[in-house]
């Protein structure tokens, strides 16, 4: 009994403190990407759209549009984008508004 109690005190509580405090384990989650605004040109945008397996990326007018709702976090686009893309490192995407999940990145001239 005493050993059990002491082991519990030493090893602490495993439950996350999440809504009160940030949880460190979230750094490694597969999350949607983000692209540098104006640094993706139209040719590269077309390649990004082609490589996305879940049709989350699309070109609309002068923007590259990422539908976070459809994104599976596979990061294939990040291999194509190179230095112009990175992981958003953000996992709290829950929303009431479906349209808020459409993230626009302006397409630039050069890359």
């Amino acid at each position: 009994m005493a050993n059990w109690f002491l082991r519990g005190v030493r090893q602490g509580v495993v439950t996350t403190a999440y809504p009160r405090r940030a949880d460190l384990s979230t750094a490694d989650l597969p999350v949607p990407p983000t692209f540098a605004s104006g640094r993706i040109n139209s040719e590269k945008a077309a390649r990004l759209v082609a490589v996305c397996p879940s049709s989350a990326l699309a070109v609309e007018a002068a923007d590259l549009v990422l539908d976070v709702g459809r994104c599976t976090g596979c990061q294939r686009c990040l291999r194509v984008a190179g230095e112009d893309g990175r992981s958003s490192a953000h996992f709290e995407w829950a929303t009431r508004d479906r349209h808020a999940l459409l993230v626009h990145f302006p397409i630039g001239e050069s890359s």
Binding site: Y18, P19, A36, C74, S88, W93, L101
Partner: protein
């Protein structure tokens, strides 16, 4: 005695809505449902053809690591007991009947949460086997993206549905570092 009469009155007939316009009525109903669900929520999950990844993350919510019971959230054993329906999967036509029966069996007011990329058309689009978009079938209250969403993302979505958390989406365009 007065207290019992008060309870009976409230149980029998909810007070009539005082608002006039549709927007005001919607806002008042939203306030009432938040007051009703603000402390506790019983959740029913339904799989409409998912690969099982979302289910495995959903089950982790009740594990000691995430322990969603500490926040007043519980899995309900039947739709009759549930306030919230969490839908996973792309909405296969074969699950139409089960999905609608489950939704109709739940008492009002009810919350519908779309879990993962599938109910938002991410993995399978609309074709002859799947709806591909849950919002064409049911009124969706909260969308939780991810493939699968982590238990913490699910927790945030559930707390958002209860208005105990704000939407925490980052800005529309972020410069790359």
């Amino acid at each position: 005695m007065i207290e019992n009469e008060e309870v009976d009155r409230r149980r029998d007939a909810p007070p009539a809505l005082r608002s006039s316009s549709v927007a005001e009525t919607a806002a008042e109903l939203h306030r009432r449902s938040v007051r009703l669900f603000g402390r506790s929520l019983h959740i029913r999950t339904i799989d409409t053809g998912s690969c099982g990844a979302c289910e495995s993350e959903l089950r982790l919510l009740s594990s000691p690591r995430y322990d969603f019971h500490r926040l007043g959230l519980f899995f309900a054993p039947a739709p009759r007991h549930a306030d919230c329906l969490m839908v996973t999967g792309p909405g296969t036509l074969a699950m139409d009947h089960a999905l609608m029966t489950t939704y109709e069996a739940m008492p009002d007011p009810k919350i519908v949460v779309a879990v993962g990329a599938c109910p938002m058309g991410g993995v399978f689009g609309r074709d002859q086997y799947t709806h591909g978009d849950l919002s064409t079938q049911l009124p969706v209250d909260v969308y939780i993206p991810g493939c699968p969403p982590s238990p913490l993302a699910l927790l945030q979505g559930l707390l958002l549905a209860l208005d105990r958390s704000q939407a925490r989406m980052p800005g529309r365009t972020e410069p790359a570092r």
